[in-house]
């Protein structure tokens, strides 16, 4: 029999009083893959991950983590948990805390090597409350990994990190994957999901609104962008383009042409620019980004 998936969630519902945080969410995270839950604030990502971690009960649906119920004690050594914030006493020294976490496992990583790898060696004796936000995040990540888990839950692992620390974290997630560890992470950074995930699950209002590999989600569609002086008459340009094409200026001076982007279309655009004395800067053809897809699916309005 094949090993059960890292995660199997069917029809998950979680309510807080009258509010429904998770509303019939279904997803499967394959073993050895990085699965990203992507969604706006309040989409139900953290509720979902905390149910999987065994921290919260759920109201309906089924959840299987490595084939077991989330609260099964047999699961504890097999999972690593990095909560969104906290979880470490303010007075705890980084090195001591990590050694404590290691001591709960029979065959842990060497805490010193892990600290070294995450650039925390100089802070081994620093109390948690005096560490910077980024250092706290890295210690929390280290604590999730030190037990050599099969499945790691990372709730917004790079929130508040500087670019160096962010890339170091990404690299480590890549290594986890290479070592055969399954990873479930939540994020609202598109580039993070695009870079790291084998499988992206876009969640909004407690439901899955789209899922697939980053390439599947962004599709084959291309678009053309350029910058030029604001206020070009686009109607005439659209008239010259094949039927079904569209052009818009947003924000001022930034132009976007959508449609069947072929060499002929590029030639038409540049010819039109030449005819109008327009120098198209930063002209490029690109695939839709995950951000485009995300905003299309979840809307642009700000969430409270």
């Amino acid at each position: 029999m094949a090993a059960p998936p890292a995660l199997e969630i069917t029809g998950l519902v979680k309510r807080y009083g009258p509010a429904t945080a998770v509303d019939g969410l279904t997803l499967t995270a394959a073993r050895g893959e990085v699965t990203a839950l992507l969604g706006p604030n309040g989409a139900g990502k953290t509720s979902t991950i905390e149910i999987c971690e065994g921290f919260r009960p759920h109201d309906a649906g089924t959840v299987r983590v490595l084939g077991l119920a989330p609260r099964d004690r047999a699961l504890k050594p097999r999972i690593g948990v990095m909560p969104q914030t906290g979880g470490v006493p303010g007075t705890a020294r980084a090195g001591e805390f990590l050694r404590l976490m290691a001591s709960f496992h029979r065959d842990p990583l060497d805490p010193a090597a892990l600290m070294e790898r995450l650039g925390l060696t100089a802070h081994a004796r620093t109390p948690y409350r005096r560490m910077s936000g980024g250092q706290q995040q890295r210690l929390s990540l280290a604590a999730a990994l030190v037990g050599r888990p099969e499945l790691v839950f990372l709730d917004e692992p790079t929130a508040g990190l500087d670019p160096q620390a962010r890339h170091a974290t990404w690299e480590l997630v890549g290594e986890l994957r290479a070592a055969g560890v399954s990873v479930l992470l939540t994020t609202h950074f598109m580039d993070e999901a695009e870079q790291l995930a084998d499988h992206v699950v876009i969640v909004d209002h407690g439901r899955v609104v789209a899922e697939g590999s980053p390439a599947e989600l962004t599709g084959a569609e291309r678009q053309l962008r350029f910058r030029a002086r604001p206020g070009l008459g686009l109607d005439e340009l659209v008239g010259a383009l094949p039927v079904g094409s569209a052009a818009k200026e947003s924000p001022a001076g930034h132009y976007l042409v959508e449609g069947d982007v072929r060499p002929e279309l590029l030639a038409t655009v540049t010819a039109w620019c030449a005819a109008h004395g327009v120098l198209a800067e930063d002209l490029r053809i690109e695939r839709r980004t995950l951000e485009d897809v995300f905003l299309e699916l979840t809307g642009r309005e700000l969430r409270g």
Binding site: P77, R78, P83, S103, F104, R106, A113, G147, R148, V181
Partner: protein, 258 residues
């Protein structure tokens, strides 16, 4: 350029044996208490200060007999309360508030193991307190009487009673409320429980109530054994046992981990 060490992240999940986990958690907690200045003030400095102050001065009228003989049992009771109740309530309250208990819940350390580690921590700190208080008291001329086993039984029952209510407070109130309430209870019980101020100084009508406070029961039990050489102060031990059962039962019922 820095060279990055290669970590072998291949999964190799297995829990450590339970005794090893509990030992590690206990060592970690004991270190935390010893390093925490506020907790040391409460658990060691204040009791020793009160013992020395009221032993060498005549600020308090303690009746006949050596002052230190009257004071030491009360100071030991105060030390037990400060560790098992005040210090444990505040420490655990903030662990709950900062999600530490929640995070520990995701590790292989079971909750029973965590509670066991906390209990062992309290007992170890109490051993240290009793050693220091005894040394200071002996230097001040203390001559204890009675059966050490009876005193030990009283301390164990007192520890259970105070731990139950300390954990009940930590597991139900906000951390800030626990901090305030635990300190307030500490002061009130210090003043009202016969620790340094003899019960005979309080109004007649109040005394029957004060006698049933856990701190009074512990103080009087220890005083009966260590000062008066009583074999087994049955009534006080019974009062402590009732507080212990009630506190632990309430804590088990109402403690919230997050």
């Amino acid at each position: 350029m820095t060279t990055k060490s290669v970590l072998d992240l291949t999964p190799r999940p297995a829990a450590a044996p339970l005794p090893a986990m509990v030992a590690a958690q206990t060592a970690y907690e004991v270190k935390g208490v010893l390093r925490n200045g506020e907790q040391l003030l409460l658990t060691l400095i204040i009791p020793v200060f009160l013992l020395v102050l009221f032993s060498v001065t005549s600020l308090l009228d303690l009746g006949a007999g050596a002052r230190v003989d009257f004071l030491t049992p009360g100071i030991i009771a105060l030390a037990v309360m400060s560790t098992a109740f005040t210090s444990q309530a505040i420490g655990t309250g903030f662990e709950r508030r900062y999600g530490v208990l929640k995070r520990l819940g995701a590790t292989p350390l079971p909750r029973s193991g965590l509670i066991l580690a906390k209990t062992l921590t309290v007992v170890l700190i109490e051993l240290l307190q009793v050693a220091v208080i005894t040394a200071v008291a002996l230097a001040l001329g203390w001559s204890p009487a009675g059966n050490p086993a009876a005193a030990l039984l009283a301390v164990l029952l007192g520890t259970a009673a105070f731990s139950g209510f300390g954990l009940l407070m930590a597991g139900t109130l906000r951390a800030e409320a626990t901090l305030a309430a635990a300190n307030l209870v500490y002061i009130l019980l210090l003043l009202l429980g016969g620790v340094v101020f003899p019960l005979s100084k309080f109004p007649e009508a109040l005394r029957p109530v004060l006698e049933y406070l856990p701190i009074t029961a512990l103080t009087e039990a220890l005083r009966a054994v260590l000062a008066d050489g009583a074999a087994l102060p049955g009534r006080e031990l019974l009062v402590l046992a009732v507080w212990a059962v009630a506190g632990l039962a309430l804590a088990a019922r109402f403690f919230r981990w997050e």
